[in-house]
């Protein structure tokens, strides 16, 4: 009869579930029964059955059986050894932790930024049916009557509102008066379109009268720190408004960051033109409405309402003729979803613009930095593995199993991740101010705590730490203890992959350095351009209108100051933005919209404009109110040979061209000089009040602060308390490069980080290669190689890597920069010397790192390396 043996599963079952101190007795008895029953098949079944019948609470292992001795003690031991190893290898630990910490910190900041940018306006409950009404495809400004007309005539529109702002005004309450930004001017539908609830006051009543206003909590506390703001009177630029409501501050992620809301209804007394675009329009559709239907009705409305006014102004026979002449223009009102405004249609925003492209760049950078840091970590650890192969050998011969060694290394990497995460948190908190400057946002430390970031941290701690440690752990745990003890193990991982990764890091560094450099050079080049006028030594004072007739007094006073040379005024000043006015050639052959500015006599001298033909305006010369001066670009646009003596018509008045000035830049160096008409700025404020929006003061002193203070002093004496606001003209000129400056700053920061992390990678690779070639170097040295020749040998390999990476990086950056430079009408050429600078920088850094590391190996005593065998 066949002899059976007890079922294996039953024995494992016993050992797995039952307390160790019972197992022997239970097994013994079961074996005896089994033998007594004759080791038959039935006995075997019985054995299994009996095993299960022992399944009683008393015998089962409890928590204390699992946390027994071995496991707990081993974890303690892993940690202790990990801490000791980290302390022992100080530079390695520091490099690893700092690389990871920088990467994690930038990930935290960037993920916070992306989350914030994508959350704009998502807090409105009805956001999916809220739209901005655009003029054409991209026009921000719409006719004043549009909001009330669509609400009345398009049934699918639940409510529509007209909005202006955000504006800076002089707010006065009691004896406190300040220049306050964030003023929003709206009609009575605003609160219902945007679902804004009042903390105090009645929503229906709040904006029902033209002299009502609503304050945010912050502004209410600012103006009325110790009393109730409701029903108080605030004067906005001199007009009294009554506070009828308080709202909470809008969330940070709104595209309308208002600070107060003032009533600005359509005035039934006034005549509005459909061809004049003066306001923004928002509409909320009914839940059942379809966007497509509403779009068609908006297009019809445009033809019906705007069409007649528009052709009256352009002189076309019919609306169709107008549409035909400009096939690329969309003559219609269109709907822009409010949720798209911040990122996709950012020029519609009333706050700071978002940028979908920068989100993409940021995400890629974050991802790149994180991946590179992890790869570096693996590179560094495997590089260390040769050094630690003896440790592994000893552990193995003393009875360590593969599992123990893997756990040891994973504990180390988790510990490193853990410390890095803490450091990264600190780093992120410390750098939040710098980050705000880069991104022009106002993040607080608490904003760092987002669900996304918590997830990132958990993923990092739970996965990245163990994962980054698992590859080196796996490699090292496989060491044959005998080889390991002999010191023979030096190979670990494929060198090609490592080389590619390091070359890739160089490519990125070169890319970022090149981009940073070119942005810098382009901005410097733009600044050095001859703009055609003299913008130095001129102070521009805002709010000249507030002075009314007292301008003459101020002018007289200012001219008394010895360093002041000239005082004049203007409706618009170069680099503050010029409006465009429509003009026609009198025979009706052409209508166009050049830039338009009213300059009082004297401004031309102050800015040193160059006259090519004719003359400038004469002071107090009334006939000159019908004279204009034009620039070369205008003459070119109209295709004229000469300009002086010709006429242009606007509002049925013919203006005679009396002068032609050389082109000068007044808007932005990014664009070509546009056509410009200079009109006569009235001295008498009664007629030309808007011609004195800016007061220009030319001075000869080098002491800018003194000039500023002297002008301010005169202003305060004369203006009757209106705040002084002024800026030097060249400073304003510099401000147009703000976007480039920030862009450059972002790239500088990230190139710094990328280079830092690339250096870590370089360090790891050098260490690794030197270890691999330790014996080779020793043998070479014994055979007579000199230290410099050994260093050269090592450097040669890296130079190849750097060059390969650089070519890739330069290629990529030129491709991208070429595109970027197209935005500028005057731009630098991408030339060969730009190729050499980033490569030289990277090459020199590489050589320094590699030669210091290899110097150590080259001067080491060769017998040390060779005695191992």
């Amino acid at each position: 009869m066949k002899k059976y043996s007890p079922p294996k599963w039953a024995l494992s079952f016993l050992r797995f579930f039952y307390k160790e101190r019972y197992v022997e007795q239970i097994e013994g008895d079961l074996f005896e029964i089994f033998l007594r029953d004759g080791s038959t098949r039935k006995a075997k079944r019985q054995f299994g059955w009996n095993t299960i019948r022992f399944f009683r609470l008393r015998y089962l292992k409890g928590i204390d059986d699992y946390e027994q001795l071995t496991t707990l003690a081993m974890i303690k031991n892993y940690l202790k050894v990990a801490i000791r190893t980290l302390i022992k290898q100080k530079s390695y630990t520091a490099i690893n932790i700092s690389g990871l910490a920088v990467a994690i910190a930038s990930t935290l900041l960037i993920s916070m930024y992306i989350l914030h940018e994508r959350s704009y306006d998502n807090f409105y409950p009805d956001i999916e049916r809220m739209y901005r009404v655009a003029n054409g495809d991209n026009g921000r400004w719409t006719p004043t009557l549009l909001a009330q007309t669509i609400q009345a005539e398009i049934p699918q529109v639940e409510a529509a509102t007209k909005v202006n702002g955000l504006m800076e005004s002089f707010l006065e309450a009691g004896n406190q008066g300040i220049l306050q930004d964030g003023g929003l001017w709206v009609d009575e539908n605003f609160l219902s379109v945007f679902d804004i609830e009042l903390l105090k006051g009645s929503k229906e009543y709040a904006l029902s009268e033209p002299d009502h206003m609503i304050l945010t909590e912050t502004i209410a506390a600012k103006f009325f720190p110790d009393k109730e703001a409701m029903n108080e009177i605030i004067e906005i630029d001199g007009d009294p408004f009554k506070v009828v409501g308080i709202v909470s501050d809008p969330p940070k992620n709104t595209h309308i960051p208002y600070k107060y809301i003032a009533s600005n209804p359509v005035d039934p007394e006034q005549k509005y033109y459909w061809s004049g675009n003066n306001t923004f329009t928002y509409a909320k559709l009914k839940p059942t409405a379809r966007r497509g239907d509403v779009s068609i009705m908006l297009a019809d409305l445009y033809e019906k309402k705007v069409g007649p006014d528009y052709i009256a102004y352009t002189g076309h026979e019919s609306f169709e003729a107008l549409v035909k002449e400009y096939p690329n223009r969309n003559f219609a009102f269109t709907l822009i979803p409010v949720i798209d405004i911040h990122l996709k249609k950012s020029h519609f925003t009333l706050g700071t613009q978002g940028d979908a492209e920068s989100i993409l760049i940021f995400s890629l950078i974050a991802l790149f930095i994180l991946i590179i840091a992890c790869i570096n970590y693996i590179n560094l650890s495997t590089a260390r593995s040769a050094v630690r192969s003896k440790e592994v050998g000893i552990r193995k011969s003393l009875g360590s199993q593969k599992k123990n060694i893997i756990l040891q290394f994973i504990t180390e990497s988790t510990l490193i991740t853990f410390i890095s995460v803490i450091l990264a948190g600190l780093l992120a908190v410390l750098s939040i101010k710098l980050f705000n400057q880069l991104t022009q946002r106002a993040f607080d430390v608490v904003d760092l705590i987002t669900p996304g970031n918590i997830l990132v941290l958990i993923v990092l701690l739970v996965f990245v730490g163990p994962l980054a440690g698992s590859y080196p752990a796996y490699v090292m745990s496989r060491f044959n203890p005998i080889d390991a003890l002999k010191g023979g193990i030096t190979k670990s991982g494929k060198a090609t992959l490592r080389n590619i990764l390091v070359a890739f890091q160089f490519a990125t560094s070169v890319f970022l350095i090149t981009v940073t450099l070119v942005i810098y050079l382009q901005v410097e080049y733009l600044k050095s351009q001859d703009i055609g006028i003299d913008i130095n030594n001129t102070l521009v004072v805002n709010n000249g209108i507030q002075l009314e007739s007292k301008y003459d007094v101020l002018k007289g006073q200012l001219e008394q100051i010895p360093s002041v040379e000239l005082v004049s005024k203007a409706s618009h000043v170069p680099f503050y933005g010029f409006p465009d006015y429509g003009y026609k050639v009198p025979d009706g052959s052409k209508s166009f919209s050049p830039n338009n500015a009213f300059l009082a006599p004297g401004v031309e001298k102050m800015l040193n404009m160059e006259l090519l033909d004719g003359r400038f305006f004469r002071k107090d010369f009334i006939p000159d109110t019908a004279s204009i001066i034009v620039n070369e670009a205008l003459v070119k646009e109209l295709g004229w040979e000469d300009a002086v003596g010709r006429k242009l018509r606007r509002d049925n008045i013919d203006y005679t061209i009396i002068g032609l000035v050389k082109d000068f830049n007044f808007a932005s160096l990014k664009r070509e000089v546009e056509p410009l008409i200079i009109r006569y700025g009235w001295d008498a404020y009664e007629i030309g009040i808007y011609h004195q929006r800016f007061i220009l003061v030319q001075f000869s002193s080098k002491n800018l602060r003194k000039v500023y203070e002297e002008v301010e002093e005169q202003w305060s004496q004369i203006s009757g308390g209106y705040p002084f606001e002024a800026r030097f003209l060249d400073e304003t000129f510099q401000l147009q490069f703000e976007a480039e400056r920030r862009f450059g700053m972002i790239f500088t920061t990230f190139s710094g980080m990328a280079i830092f992390i690339a250096l870590l990678g370089l360090f790891a690779l050098t260490t690794f290669i030197l270890q691999k070639r330790f014996k080779e170097i020793a043998v070479r040295k014994v055979m007579g190689a000199s230290v410099p020749s050994l260093i050269r040998m090592i450097i040669k390999d890296f130079t190849k890597l750097v060059l390969a990476g650089s070519i890739l990086g330069i290629g990529g950056s030129f491709y991208w920069l070429d595109d970027w430079l197209q935005e500028y009408s005057t731009r630098i050429e991408l030339s060969w010397y730009l190729l050499t600078i980033p490569i030289a920088i990277i090459l020199i850094i590489t050589w320094i790192v590699v030669s210091t590391k290899s110097y150590k190996a080259a001067v080491a005593n060769p017998s040390k390396a060779l005695k191992d065998e």
Binding site: E27, G28, D29, F31, L35, R56, Y59
Partner: protein, 110 residues
Amino acid sequence: MKGTHLGEFEELVLLIIGVLYPNAYGLAIKQEIANQTKRSPAIGAIHSALSRLEEKGFLKSHLADATHERGGRRKKLYEITASGKQAIEYNRSLRNTLWNQIPALAWKNL
């Protein structure tokens, strides 16, 4: 006093251990119970009774040498302790006292 209470099965096991002295271990106890009482308790029940009794301090144990028929496992041999003896003696005297108190008349009609 809960800790020293002896259940019926426990008392039986304790007595059998005395009977088998010095060779009382799990399976032998099971067999002896089967022989003497015609009951066939599960081996698991014996083991849990043994460990309960040991926890109460009525039994002490030591390990004997490994034998082949036990697949190389050692036997755990049990002996009754002084307090174990006290416990069965208490049960026995309680029973005797109660016996003696039953009036003869009670049996008369049986």
